[in-house]
Amino acid sequence: MFTDFYDSFYYSLLIAATGTCLFLFKRVQKPFRLLAILTVLTLVNELISKYVALVLHNNSIVYHFFTPVEFLLYVLIYKEFFSEKKWTRILWICFASLVLAEIFNTIFFQPLSVSNTNILLLENILLVVFSLGLFIKIRESAYYEDLLKEGIFWFNCAVLFYYAFSTLVWGFHSIKVYYLKNPPMIIYNFLLIFSGLLYTIFAFAVGINSITAKKRSRINE
């Protein structure tokens, strides 16, 4: 089922991250529960896409549906982190725009049989913007004592790194290899490694939050 090392690497990390998230689900705060749900859904999506690929030899359709769902979960997570009316409005506008763009893109540019890279690119850019916005908010509030011991920091770092790199990959893809039948796999392999790392850091963030949430609840008691 997993064709090569990169695939195996990615799926191993994703399964491990999903297991961790499910194990810690009850002990973490709301945004991290949403993050755990996102990780689980990603694994489910990947398994479905594998199955669809085996049956139809083209799994692009799965991503057309999964991208808005994934973005919705990110929107919900950032909404929790920002907890500001202004940002809530921005996040929902972005979500609505992405859904409309997906429909428009599917109808006019990238049908269900083709990978929705345009929407992935848009999603990546928006997530990079959210991540930078959250960094600014964290800095302004200066609420956390040790940022390196906070799940929010690791989550946001992972989002920034991964989606900035992903933007580069999909940008490169759109410019250079979109029309190629056999594009160079190296860039996708990079993306697989980074994806694996992304979910590993998500699990790490969930783990850290389970510890800090426990500490804070003790202090509050």
Binding site: F135, I138, R139, A142, Y144, E145, L147, L148, C157, L160, F161, A164, F165, L168, F172, K176, V177, Y179, L180, P183, P184, I186, I187, F190
Partner: protein
């Protein structure tokens, strides 16, 4: 288009380099972010500490303020009791007079009753009726002086009581006269050598005005005491006073006046004037400050004028001072009618 469809190793290298640059930039950003966050957090911690310190200071200040208020209340009560002490001698003197009348008239009346009985026994009804008439007059006088003594005791009790703050129609002339006499007799009783004269000039057209009599009485008593103290100090410290061509006559006067003209805003004016030492110009602005006194240690709390100022302000009035060093002082109180 063909060129676009071809991808070579250079493109991949460019991609990898771009990727490395992006990652390096992001890493740099995160490092900068962590650095600036720690810096900002230090500032926040400092601010937080300062806030904590300020909260502690605020709590301490509030505690001190509470203590000060309590001390102030105690001082006010002490000042009141001190003035009561000063009054005691005056009051005793004031009560003594009516008591003397009561005693004398009752003794005389007693004798007259014996006389009347004798006259009745001899059948001299006309004389007996005359004597009975005189006895009646004596009894009226006894009653009058008894009521006077009663009023003095009541006034004394009122003075010592905590002010109810309730304003009631008061005859200001009567109040001023009463306290002037009390102050005078009080000083005389305390110091036999005390010598001063007093004068009153009351405007009889003044109606009763709404004041807290107990408080305004305290103000007047304080001004009279100060005035008597000043004139007597001047008298005592004047060398060879007996040999002067025009001997110094210590005098304190009180005048009340109803203000009629539109420019005077109505109300009443009470002027307490003395021909004592006067107040030096360099301290005249400080006399209404709490704890400011020119009297020797132990003789004054320094709260008298400060309290007087507060009492008059509470009544919506004004208190002003005019003084010429060596010539005398004049306190003018204005109270709304």
């Amino acid at each position: 288009m063909n060129k676009l469809l071809q991808i070579n190793s250079t493109d991949v290298t460019v991609f990898i380099f771009a990727g490395i640059i992006v990652l390096a930039l992001l890493f740099g950003f995160i490092m900068y972010f962590l650095f600036s966050y720690r810096h900002k957090q230090k500032d926040f911690q400092l601010l937080h500490q300062q806030k904590l310190q300020m909260d502690i200071q605020k709590t301490e200040l509030e505690k001190t303020l509470r203590e000060l208020r309590s001390a102030q209340a105690q001082l006010i009560q002490s000042e009141k009791m001190a003035s009561l002490g000063e009054l005691t001698a005056g009051i005793a003197h004031e009560i003594q007079n009516p008591l003397n009348f009561v005693n004398n008239f009752s003794e005389i009346s007693n004798e007259m009753i014996v006389e009347m009985k004798e006259e009745l026994a001899t059948g001299n009804l006309e004389l007996a009726t005359e004597i009975a008439k005189d006895i009646k007059q004596n009894l009226e006088k006894i009653n009058y002086h008894g009521r006077r003594a009663d009023a003095i005791v009541k006034a004394m009790l009122q003075h010592s009581r905590i002010s109810s703050g309730q304003k009631e129609p008061t005859d200001i002339n009567k109040l001023a006269d009463e306290y002037l006499r009390l102050a005078y007799h009080g000083l005389r009783a305390k110091d036999k050598s005390f010598n001063a004269d007093f004068k009153t000039d009351f405007d009889e057209s003044i109606d009763k005005i709404n004041i807290v009599a107990q408080d305004v009485g305290r103000v007047l008593l304080n001004l009279f005491n100060n005035a008597f103290y000043s004139v007597y100090e001047k008298y005592r410290n004047m060398p060879g006073i007996q040999h002067l061509a025009e001997p110094y006559k210590p005098i304190v006067s009180v005048q009340t006046k109803k203000l009629h003209t539109p420019s005077e805003d109505g109300g009443i004016e009470i002027t307490v004037k003395d021909n004592g030492n006067g107040i030096p110009q360099n301290i005249i602005d400080k006399i209404f400050q709490p704890f400011f006194t020119t009297k020797p240690t132990g003789e004054g709390t320094g709260l008298g004028l400060s309290l007087s100022y507060d009492i008059i302000k509470t009544h919506g009035g004004e208190i002003k001072v005019r003084s010429t060093e060596g010539e005398g002082t004049e306190f003018i109180i204005w109270l709304p009618a």
